[in-house]
Amino acid sequence: MAVQTVELKPSTGSLSRPSSWTTLGKNRIGLVGLIMLVAAVVVAVFASVLAPYDPKTSEGITSSDIYQRPSSAHLLGTDDAGKDVLSSFIYGSRVSLIVGFFAAFISIVIGGIIGIVAGFYGGRLENILMRFTDTMLVIPDLPLIIVIVALTKPSLLNIIFVIGLLGWTTTARLVRSQTLAVKSRKFVLRARAIGAGNWHIIQHHILPLVLPLLVVNAILVISLAILEESTLSFLGLGDPTVISWGQMLNFAFGRGAMSAGAWWALVAPGFGIVWIVLALTLLGHGLEQVLNPRLESHHLMPGRPAVQQEAMLGISARSSRNPKPVVLDIQNLSIHYISEDKPPARAVENVSFQLHEGELMGLVGESGCGKTTLMMALMKLLPAAGQIVNGKVLFNNQDLTAMSEEEIADVRWSAISIIFQGAMNALNPVRTVGEQIAEAIKKHVAIYHEAQVDERVSELLELVGIAEEHKDHFPHQYSGGMRQRAMIAMALACSPQVVIADEPTTALDVMIQAQILELLDDLRKKLGLAIIFVTHDLGVVAEMCDSVLVMYGGVTAEYASVDTIYNAPRHPYTQELLKAFPDLSKPEKRLSSIPGYPPKLDALPVGCRFAPRCPLAFERCFIEMPALHSLNGGDHIASCHLVEN
């Protein structure tokens, strides 16, 4: 049966967390499995006490006792020999558990040793061992087990050994990859550097991290062994001297239970097998989740509907500095991440800004200050836990937050598009770049013919400097810079009015960065795009942007034109940020960094979020959150007690 589900990804992160047991407690599936397994073990241990009859003797049984219906004397009826099915059923649990545990023990030991040796020593030894493992993995287990058991004496010991000796392959592969992962971790390298021997490293550093994985694997190997034993017994290859569930089924099936209508003799033993195997499967599934906690969420989960509260904290941005019409007007936007067992994380609070036609706005702030959350909310692309709890996103005076999923789907890309950071993952690896661009066009510009779409794709790629022949290539055939440019071409595919560039040049080398930024600026001038440019790079902002929004800990620190931000910043955070940035015009300037870290969203300070790191903080900053203050008649906004009045 299935072995593949057994394979966990090698994880090295959270293996020995103290909360594992509490997590299992919360994991209902695992808990149910554990209880079912304990019940089975109790039945097996106390079989002689629990069984109403001794299934080994046939004293006092007459031919009239054969296949008797369940009654008060025989709760599960009698079998083909007139024996009590319940008693045999209870004793049968022993064989399943014994074979399962001992065979799995052999498999786990062999697989563990081969896996650790192969992973730890590597080289030719690893090659030989893994080739052997792969070969054994391909050869079908059960037919081989059947052949061997058929050729040898079918005793319990033989069965245990044969199942055990053939069941180690998945374990070996799993342990090897885990060992490889652990081996290259720092504390192992350190132990090696101070001269620890191989055996010491294996014993004290590798084993403890491999063991939890091995336990989960063992549970599944046990269940497979139990299934194999029952199959062997059912096929008539079981140990004839002991009672097992498979054998009970063999007898019942082969000796007329079908035609006698004796369903009890057929149902009971199978139920036992299912009980134990299901218990192990559930327990294994639960433990796997504990070991490898996965976010059970993805991008297709429905988002939470936006809600509106009373307008908070008064003012919003009403800039008059730009004469062109406003395309995007963000008013008092607040976003929370909702979780079941924790208070909501207030990721973005009361952010407002306006974007005019052809404007390039810089959005700056340290990592984790809510920039990406804010951008995702503009297109209603927040993850399932994210919720807009207040505010509006007005695009050409239409509120996007109030739109249904179908309505917003039409706005996406055709009106607002995104250049994601890290284009390697943002492009689908198994479809060509050309296809992925064409897809957006077909979705939103329905009037195009196939040929026109094709032409448009070539045109777009040419616009970003990619030759037409690369159209039918896959993303992995592109260089990093090309992928980012392809992403830009894709963002422009439906002639949007607003493009969000979310750190488009992170992880690219400086030359490529410059090219891409130049390209974006060109396109803006040529196509009249409004661009929101999310970045850490203040130099780029100074050079290219018209306005700047500085965020800190999810709130607006300061929002103004680029000149104001650079020459007359009012928020201490902006001031500190500029001090940390080299300025070519003032080469004598000393750079200083801001000590400390941005606040965690689930542990925000009561007062100003920047207060703990602020050099100018005073008493009030720690108690009261500053409001947004409007300076110069709305052109300049800052949230700081110091700018009051």
Binding site: M1, P143, I148, G236, G270, A426
Partner: protein
Amino acid sequence: MSRYRHLLKKIGWSAFTILFVLILNFFLFRVLPGDPVKSGTHDPRLKKETQEALRVRFGLDKQVINCFETLNPIKLGKCDLNPFDTQFFIYLRNLTRGELGFSFHTNRPVADILVERLWNTILLIGAGQVLAIIAGMVLGIFAAWKTRTSVDYGALITGLVAWSLPTFWLGILLLFWGSNNGFPIGGRVTPGTSSYPFSYQVGDIAKHMILPTLTYTIVYMGEYLLIMRSSLMDVLSEDYILTAKAKGLSAFQILKDHALKNAMLPIVTIVAINLGFTVAGAIQIETVFSWPGLGGAVFEAINRRDYPVLQGVFLLIAVSVVIANLIADLTYAYLDPRVQTE
């Protein structure tokens, strides 16, 4: 270029594995105790000449392999023999001619028995696999898509329970239920209908196939469901799905055009690896439903201690599984553009 090297490497490895299987198959039946050929040729009730004739018939008059007279117990023999005149090379030579020995029970060539039964097994496994893959994938897709809803939990529990069912027991239950509800009680055709019109016979086989195929589908569906679910969950949390969503594609379009191809890659491998387990399932199902396939042949061979048949079936199964794995590897390389340029 690299694509061909990848291909050659895979083919080379499969050839090596098949060779390993051939050697294993040969020695297994000679090293382990309980070989009836040996006990037969040593039966004191038989005349010396009969014993000798049996030994010649089964090729036991030849030395096992150079330097070894017999392998169990190990007895050294001559080393200067012509290596082509040993049991091992005769075994290999016979294999290349498609000769797998004779059945103890019916005295027919094993190869003939296998060919006759192979098609029945392929019919059963084929129908069952296709249904199991379809059912498992559809349920898996729904579970992943509607994650953390009752649809998902229901599918997950169904998958885990189906996975835990012993195949033969589910078969027995369905047969028990079916025999009381007008289904045929096993076999492939109703006896005595061989002169009936062709369309009747096809319908008759189909009717006999329903319950075994259903058993097969239920048992294997669980696994495909679980794998599809977890694979699709992984894919759906990838960045490129967010890109697709940002492009305004509907959930259905995203699933169809962006998620499924990627999520199905693991399934390809699983189907092949599963073939080994599939055969295990076939042995049980064919036993329960008296389906005249390879699995049924295994069961009969066990009961009759018909070792040449057992050996032949094992060889056929093992080689098919190795080849299926090779095909899966090549399909994977074809489906995933990244493999080709690695």
